[in-house]
Symmetry: C3
Subunit: 253 residues, 3 copies
């Protein structure tokens, strides 16, 4: 850090198990990745290549190499997994992970219907090959999942071998954990945390208000995801109580 301030919350350091920031790359150029790394490598823990953007991004191998040189793990968004599964191409997906040397993968069912057993089977299979993040929650606004079901799904997926479970929001932040206004479903989050370990959950929180909400409720070292590359530094200041929104939160009363 560039100077010393007292009364800052303690932040975990890399490699982190909690306090993770997962970043959404939806098509950065290689030079933009370099720019991002030059400012934010220490504050970012894992990169998601959003949904199937990797399909149309040129120089994918080179881009992955740049992230790797900064020791930042990368994974393909869950929608890509679903795109292979819905086409009965799961084996191709496994080969794809190998071809690009991926060490992480996401299992989700945000856009397709999938029985719980089937999803857990995918998690188990992939967990023999890579570290798995699994995502709970639908992208479909009409499909409300009650709290007990969130908990049951999360537990089952962790048991099946997921390293972290992700609480789904869409990129814009309006479904899953959030009401259509973008507001967090507080009761849902609190109930989940009575039964699933804090550090096992990564909450998608693309909007600033959501990030502030999670940091105020769960502290500096909450796992947050779907953060835009240019928002990683602002988020780090929110975690540290150095932005207006959380300014008083960590100070001695």
């Amino acid at each position: 850090m560039n100077y010393t301030l007292t009364q800052l919350p303690e932040r975990t350091s890399k490699p982190r198990q909690s306090g993770l920031t997962m970043v959404m790359d939806k098509g950065l150029s290689i030079r933009e990745v370099e720019d991002f790394l030059s400012t934010s490598a220490d504050h970012a823990d894992i990169i998601k290549l959003g949904w199937a953007t990797s399909f149309v991004t040129p120089n994918l191998k080179d881009k992955l190499a740049v992230y790797r040189s900064a020791n930042l793990p990368v994974y393909f968004g869950g929608t890509l997994f679903e795109a292979f599964v819905v086409r009965n191409q799961f084996d191709d997906y496994r080969k794809l992970l190998d071809k690009y040397g991926m060490e992480y993968a996401e299992v989700s069912d945000g856009s397709i219907e999938m029985a719980q057993d089937e999803k857990c089977e995918y998690i188990s299979k992939l967990a023999t090959q890579v570290t798995v993040l699994s995502e709970v929650g639908s992208k479909d606004e009409a499909k409300i999942i009650p709290p007990y079901k969130w908990i049951q799904l999360m537990k089952a997926e962790l048991q099946a071998g997921a390293w972290k479970v992700i609480g789904e929001a869409r990129e814009g932040g309006t479904v899953g954990l959030f009401r259509s206004s973008g507001e967090v479903r507080q009761g849902l989050v609190e109930e989940i945390l009575t039964q699933v370990p804090f550090e096992s959950i990564l909450w998608e929180a693309p909007q600033k208000e959501q990030q502030v909400w999670f940091v105020k409720l769960l502290g500096a070292n909450v796992n947050l995801g779907n953060i835009a590359p240019h928002e990683v530094i602002p988020l780090e200041t929110i975690r540290l109580g150095l932005r207006g929104d959380t300014f008083m939160h960590f100070l001695d009363k």
Copy 2:
């Protein structure tokens, strides 16, 4: 593409007559243009230097040269045409196009009143010099154009020599084709398409919801415009049914 997926809609390839993506550059630096080209050159068809941003952008010649080296045509936004016309400087505008070696130009009347005959005359004159895109629709929220008038204007402007007619939205996407909520005026679009060829229209659709709406209604190869540079790759995945929003749309039922 980096891997193979079945059941993808067929995309036209460059140079495209339909399936065009028109990108809005509102002041990119030369290095940012290079970054954009390194990821999106294959998915972008034509670049608009937004409204009169070219007036205050330094290194304009160099920037145009970078786009040209990627075979991407560039044109000045219609507001610049209008800025010259309203000052009785149309001849200066024609010289300007020559000075910068422009091969495309836009004729619009979004900010000024212009009789239909006069507009068509501008189109005809410019069509002897460059390829013309003409734009229908007002930037003024109070000025609602009824469907039959949209159709009449579009037909007349194509007849006068326009290569494509553009359905106006503002950069933010709230007037012209869209209600103040950003919602598309569906009846308007459908009525237009009964009488104006699909491939002759380029729909401005800066917001993701609008892009999704047009792709669902008109398919992967609808012409879309005012796309932000960083949204070209996401749009390409929407066209291909590889983002949540259009995920099921192109799959065999």
Copy 3:
């Protein structure tokens, strides 16, 4: 400028006392700063490193040097000043300014309570060391300051040695000068201007609609702040009447 248009409003030139554009940098990389400077150096007057982003930004010295090489003054956001004050580290803050060779600083009380006398004392002290911008207005939506109080605070802070007073908005533009809808509190602005000199005030106006509003009310050379780096060129066209929103404003009627 790249070409000549008549009937443009006269713009002040650098170094400006009015018509200032203050830019918010919330974590740009050095190469992004270079990109910004290559397009916008002539249209930007002063850079704010937003709130305490400087705490977590690597290569701070190098970054400051790049701005300096373009003769663009830089200052730390007021929230950083407050972060030191609330921890009784004001002397550390003064040393910090020296350590980084800062020539400007902001005094604000957006996140903490501070008596007017105390704030003016901070301004006076810092004014012996650097050029001071002071900020009036709260980040707290519940804390409405009546117009007479805005005027009294602004006058006192200018008297205490502030070079400019800043009318507070948050980055998103929803409190202080603005209603929660983002709409400008017009009566407030007009009343302030009856008693505080136009050129002494810098209005935070991060959203386009706000920028348009101020330019229409106060002309091309109003001081505006919290402008995102990529919005500096668009703002310059708004000032010049070369974007749809202000297109007719400066034309001879």
